[in-house]
């Protein structure tokens, strides 16, 4: 009788402790997003045969309740240095501008880039914008299992888009450690076949621990063996960025 009681107690205790998939993702989403960021990104494009191509970009981004702005400027390699790409998202509208120094002209670009590749990498624009948190209410979340890694409980959550939601992927599976709630691995599926795998590491605290941000990201496309390693360097969070940065003038400035 006593034994049975102990078992019941343990079961109910574990039930109380376990989170649902929904709750895990809410905790992931509860991380605050920085209002502004600036830094350098070193992007390594690694081919199937191991050939590495390195690109370096400067990124400025700023967000308010109504507006999101991002400017990307290429630093290396030399032949694309100065190429700049500006995105301003406002009221559901997206404005994109491109500056190619060789043509010495700023061009406005139309058309949705969401599913397109981010700077020719294995990340899509969607992947990049979801790094700071996906729209969790667009998905159904299911806790598949928990794993234990180095003494830390890790939730494995499957997220499938709700009907009517336009998503790049048919499902995603995230590995979320219970101590940080910053996903360390996300698998992306297309037509329920594994397509890409994102690995987040070097998670660092910023703004006195207010933010936990992975600074080394690797996205591998399992269908063609190509991968991209993104390293965020000298990342500055919540610094004041002048609005003049997000202008044509600044794009053209070398």
């Amino acid at each position: 009788m006593r034994k049975l009681f102990t078992v019941l107690l343990l079961v109910s205790a574990s039930l109380a402790l376990a989170l649902s998939g929904e709750e895990v993702m809410q905790k992931v989403d509860a991380h605050p997003s920085p209002a502004s960021m600036q830094g350098t990104m070193v992007m390594q494009l690694i081919g199937k045969q191991g050939k590495v191509l390195t690109r370096e970009i400067r990124v400025w981004s700023k967000r308010t309740a109504t507006e999101e702005k991002m400017l990307i400027k290429f630093v290396a390699p030399a032949d694309v240095k100065g190429t700049a790409f500006l995105t301003i998202r406002k009221g559901g509208k997206e404005e994109m501008k491109l500056y190619l120094p060789a043509l010495k002209r700023v061009r406005r670009i139309a058309g949705s880039q969401k599913k397109g590749s981010f700077m020719g990498s294995d990340f899509s624009y969607d992947d990049i914008s979801n790094l700071s948190g996906m729209e969790i209410e667009d998905y159904n979340h299911k806790l598949l299992r928990t794993e234990n890694k180095d003494g830390v409980e890790v939730y494995v959550v499957e997220s499938t888009p709700k009907p009517g939601v336009d998503s790049s992927y048919s499902k995603q599976i995230a590995w979320v450690p219970a101590d940080t709630f910053v996903p360390t691995r996300i698998e992306f599926y297309k037509k329920d076949k594994l397509y890409k795998v994102l690995t987040n590491s070097a998670v660092k605290p910023f703004a006195d621990g207010k933010y936990l941000i992975p600074t080394l990201l690797q996205m591998e496309n399992v269908t063609n063996g190509h991968k991209t390693v993104l390293e965020q360097k000298d990342l500055q969070i919540d610094v004041a960025i002048d609005d003049a940065v997000f202008t044509e003038r600044f794009m053209k400035k070398r």
């Binding site: 050939k51 191509l53 032949d79 060789a102 043509l103 406005r108 670009i109 139309a110 020719g120």
Partner: protein, 749 residues
Amino acid sequence: MHILSQLAIRHPWRVILLFAALSAAFGAGLRGLELDNSPESLVPPDLPAKLLLDRARDTFGGGDMELAALEGEIWTPAALEQLRAATEAVSGIEGVKRVTSLASAKRMEEEDGFLLVEDLLPENLDEEAVATIRAYVDNHPLYSGRLASSDGRYAAVIMEVDPESDMKRLNHEIAAALAETWSGPVHLAGTPALSGYILDTMARDIPRQLLLAILIIGLVFFVNFRSQRGVLLPLLTVLVALVWALGLGGWLGFKLGMISSILPVVVLAVGSSFTLHVLNRFYHELAAGVSRREAVLLATRETGLGVLVSALAAGAGLAALFSSSIPQIKSFGLLAAFGVFAAFLASSLLAPSILVLLKNPRRVMDPERPDAISRAMRAIGSWLLGARKMVLLAALLFLGLMLVFVPRIHAETSFLSYFPETAPPRAATELVDRVFGGSDNVILIVDGDLKDPELLEAIHRFEQKVATYPEVGSAASIADVIRELHKALTGSYGLPDSREGVAQELLLYQMSGDPDDLAQFMDEAATTAQVTVQVRSLPSGAMRDLVERIQSDAEKIIGPRANAVNTTGSTVLMLETMRLILHDQYVSLGLAFILVALFNAWLLRSWTVGLVSIIPLVLTVSGQFGLMGMFGVPLDTATALIGAIAIGVGDYSVHIIVRYLEELRRGRSTAEAARESVYVSGRAVFFTALAIGGGFMALLLSGFAPIQTFAKLMGFTVSATALFALTALPAALLVFVHKYGKQEVIQDA
């Protein structure tokens, strides 16, 4: 032979059990047998063009091009929706690496001051959107005539498929997916589609041909022996041989191609002749009143030598194919030689063992009884004595005449030539060639600095040059992509004037689409590019000429600005196959003649005899090639085998030599020996020729044009070898072989 015959008589059950066990072991290998007729299976794995193609596939992620032409009014919202569904459906098929159609195409243009980059087909398709798309496509050099026909009647779905896939499954799935999504007719062309058709045809043909060959050979045997066991026993031995040969292929992991559909018939036809000789003697002895055991012993021992010599010669002729550099022909040679060896063992061990155990037949008919055929043989024998010199002279004239035509032979390896004029793959290919300018491609690999505008300009000039050839549909490369982009950015077609300009425009392209779109044209580091020249399906000769022009244009126009330019692609592999077939032919035939002459000289203890023994073969083979040259029959993967197979099946003339020598040894005159050998062995030669020739006629059923041609040529071959064996051979024996050693040939062997 003595040991073999003793074994059969003393331990018949053990022999039968041993054969059963071995057949089961080899038979287990049948499950591992695979069919494959890809261009890759036809070239040596270390061929430079093959290595280059492997590298290209690795770098550009492509595969063999398969092209589907979807027929119907394409410029309607409904049709484009169907095209979108069709593109989606084939993309999901395992083995399809990349799909290009209007549904996967991008639209990049200047609109109201914006650079517009988006999918060509918008989410919602209405009449107006369709009109815009049509206008865009009509003015787009990469899309017009390539993804949509200019008359709006056909849409193309270009699939790049993994050459390693099972083409049969792949093509069934592609056809099913397209039929389900597209309401009009669908035409499939390109190397993978043809490979799929080839595999389908093989799967259908092999059992049909085998069955028909069994029927024909059975019938010939029945006419000869008029008994059930006279039919069943030879068939049993060859079926055993067939299981061994194909089973070995399975164990060795061989993949059978188009020509392997000949293999069962070769083993069947050649192998059955062995047992025919053994049974002939057995019934002859039984009819003469000898006991059953004694008859078996005599049959195996006395016909044994002839069977052994012809088995060795057949094996040697076929094994000579192993010297071929074409993997498919190599494995065919090995398996056919092994099958012949197995048939020899079965006819001299298994057949006698069964004969020992069976009761005597109620009615014994002597197959060597005098009948119309033997009377004819006697007449030939007598005639020859007076006409020996004339016969040899005629043979020499025939040889000379045929050799004149040999140099006219041309080779043909295009997959399309596999099919008779009326076969569906031909029609589909012709349609695709006509509507989309080609179902095949030649790939040009350019190594160099691809950000150099001058190199890009050279590539563009090269594309313009080759596009003027009537056999070329279009060409596509990174230069076209950049020109298109440059137009969208600046309003006019052209290339940026600096390295930086190229690099930046490329970056823009990568940013606005799937990086894979670029990967098919250029590697990430911009050091290797792939230029795809879409070409019509052509006969090998015309294709060689075209590829040579393309290569020379590339060297002249692109060469000076690049580090290297090379052509490859499945078309180039097929051309290499052609070159190898021509080259191998001399090697394997020469080798086969030498091997046969050596075996015969060694077994019959005389160099003169060895040389004389190959006279019928030399005459027959030169006849084959002479006729091919005369009638323009091309040398292809199937007809390339006829020389070696002629040597394999044609050596039944050895029975005449053995008999002639035996008669000489017994002290008869050359005239008596010649007459006797033609009279006694002539009948067997006649029936063997009938069985073998009949067996090969089953191949006339084949769905492959080369195999039909092969069957017709085999008809000539078998009749010619028989004719020469009964005329030129005894004439040569009469003229050149007068004395023979005292040893007993039969015992010795």
